[in-house]
Symmetry: C2
Subunit: 388 residues, 2 copies
């Protein structure tokens, strides 16, 4: 199995792009990645693109062909991957496996979503396609509702407080204020969160990631090719796993089994422990999911994530710098693009290109969740190649 590295990154700003179509966003991100890598479009041998639900958002399936067409890369193989909000990470992982197999040397992995063309209530219905439509969606359940159940149970089992959850959003916004690509580049306070409108008790508006448009792309190269680039960032560990689709079928409401399986695999492959991770982008679609991720990824003990956040451990330069991009909450969450966008932030941190939000970083991690945790992908990146 060949090693692979990220040698180019590019993304659009996340937000409400009324003036841009999905195809325009995808091309903007792709061209930025190609320019960043300093290669030609003709060097790219295949495309992988993550997208959750363009069929419902804009009536467009077959996005992989559309993206190569619009990018002027017609001819090369192009594949769309989907696992709800983890779609971007699936595209990245399949792209890496295809390069590792020897089939290609340079590929592009992208993610894109255009969500704001629908009314908000239709967006909520569409997103419920990420859960079990027969046993959750059609019975009236929504994603805020499902995560509210997880939050309430975490509060019950571990005495996690509303304020501790709010602090996760506060941290994201603090970082987003330094990220020009962020949808909400401003700070908020715990009081702001606690006074924001109730969405699904105990979750309030500022616990929830927004509806966003955006696209992100990375260029992936095989070991030999990557070494010719100036600053390759190596994928040193990767895991993907599943859990029951419906929340009511799970063994636990306060832990994502798929995160634990995927993380175990990624840490083993990388040969490092959680303590070695300097910077991580975790999937805070709702603040509670950020807390749960800290536990499942081994950054703190089971049930202790509230206290861990309260003690300042996730701030920039602390025990582990969490969501320096702003995270899903503050940077934005165009669902199919999120996994790739997380990777871009980690690559920028490892390259040392994060400006005011830069932290000292040797190892970085991404954690991308589909649905309420039925799919999870964990990637670990390093500045140095790990010999296998």
């Amino acid at each position: 199995m060949r090693n692979v590295a990220v040698v180019g990154i590019g993304e659009t700003a996340f937000g409400e792009h009324w003036e841009k179509s999905l195809r325009a966003l995808a091309v903007e991100a792709g061209i930025a990645a190609i320019r960043d890598a300093n290669i030609e479009g003709a060097d790219i041998e295949a495309m992988y693109i993550g997208n959750m639900s363009a069929g419902k958002f804009i009536g467009q399936e077959h996005l992989a062909a559309l993206a190569v067409d619009q990018a002027g890369l017609v001819g090369i193989p192009s594949s769309r991957l989907e696992a709800a909000c983890a779609s971007g990470s699936l595209a990245f992982r399949q792209a890496c496996l295809a390069v590792a197999s020897g089939e290609y040397d340079i590929v592009i992995a992208a993610g894109a979503e255009k969500m704001t063309d629908l009314q908000t209530e239709d967006v909520t219905t569409t997103l419920m396609g990420a859960g079990d439509q027969e046993w959750e969606g059609w019975l009236g359940m929504t994603f805020p509702g499902l995560y509210a159940l997880m939050a309430r149970r975490h509060m019950y089992e571990y005495n996690t407080t509303r304020e501790q959850m709010a602090l996760f959003s506060v941290n994201g916004h603090k970082n987003a204020a330094l990220n020009p690509k962020a949808q909400f580049p401003f700070e908020i306070t715990v009081e702001d969160v606690l006074n924001s409108p109730l969405v699904a008790d105990p979750l309030r508006l500022l616990d929830c990631s927004p509806v966003s448009d955006g696209a992100a792309a990375v260029i992936i190269a095989s070991e030999d090719v990557a070494k010719r680039f100036e600053n390759p960032i190596w994928l040193i560990g990767s895991g993907q796993a599943t859990d029951n689709l419906a929340l009511h079928d799970r063994k636990s409401l306060t832990s994502l089994r798929a995160t634990k399986i995927a993380a175990k695999r990624a840490y083993e492959q990388a040969g490092i422990a959680p303590e070695k991770i300097d910077v991580a982008e975790v999937h805070d679609c709702f603040s509670i999911n950020g807390l749960v991720a800290l536990e499942d990824l081994g950054f703190c003990e089971r049930g202790k994530s509230g206290k861990f956040v309260e003690d300042g451990n996730i701030e920039r330069g602390a025990a582990v710098s969490i969501n320096t991009s702003g995270g899903l909450k503050a940077k934005g969450h165009p669902v199919g693009a999120t996994g790739i966008s997380q990777i871009i932030e980690i690559v920028k941190q490892l390259r040392g290109e994060c400006g005011k939000r830069q932290v000292p970083a040797e190892f970085g991690l991404t954690h991308n969740v589909g649905g309420t945790g039925a799919t999870v992908v964990v990637n670990i990146f390093g500045k140095e190649l790990k010999e296998r």
Copy 2:
């Protein structure tokens, strides 16, 4: 790059399954494949599933997690691939690349679609998501309309006749009559086709593949593992390619460039010429596309497919036995399942398990098209391993 083989196959009957949900169909096919391979579910390390539009057909995205959940395989990585009607072949190809990379030794590649839960007019709208929604779909174009343009142009350029096109459907039905899994297991005549209702001039009802429910699955193993199985069928060549998404952007209306690119790659990898192919499943979503495929795959000269069919060259045991399963027209076309179903027919022919529709076969080919040809996958299979 490691060699891979198909070591297990399973599928549902294709048709209108009012009594079965998508999840039930997927599990039925998967279990049949596991039994055919004579392995345990626990032996499977990852799942890849092709599906075009469950989000629109039944409100369900995140099908990859649903499928492993329902199959009792929770935990393993599971990925959904989509490229419209070529989704099944994308799942197969990514599964093969992942095994080739060394990441897994045994994986399952499946395809599933449940189309009959929607009204027919909504099915047509949903399928148009496979084309360019902005420049074709929203302007009123439908898939029968697009393929009718291709048919009319082929008749104009090459004097292809209505009767010749009809013969492609007649051949499919003749084979389907011998296939218990087929949606339409009965013979039809040229007159039946020519007297059937006009759908989009010159295409009539019996030129068009139906709306179907169904699922199909294959078990894929790495070279070392596959050799332990009784009758592995080897993937000896594979190509995937793209073309412009919108028909009006193409250089030709009478040839699919993506087929030619994908076929070239597959033939080169297999080290054989088109003349060596004994049996092929080609993508006859409309009869005209079957004719075009015969030319693009090199089975006959450009513009001569009508005559080639008329002369009996595609019948069982003739120059090349085409669509012995019945093809999309007569076996049925549950879009995401079709690519896998084509592979199953070829594997059965190479194993010699096709009963009354068996033909002498050493090499077999599958040709799966997304949209009007914006994505094409071509696979070549052999009974013997080809050393690389």
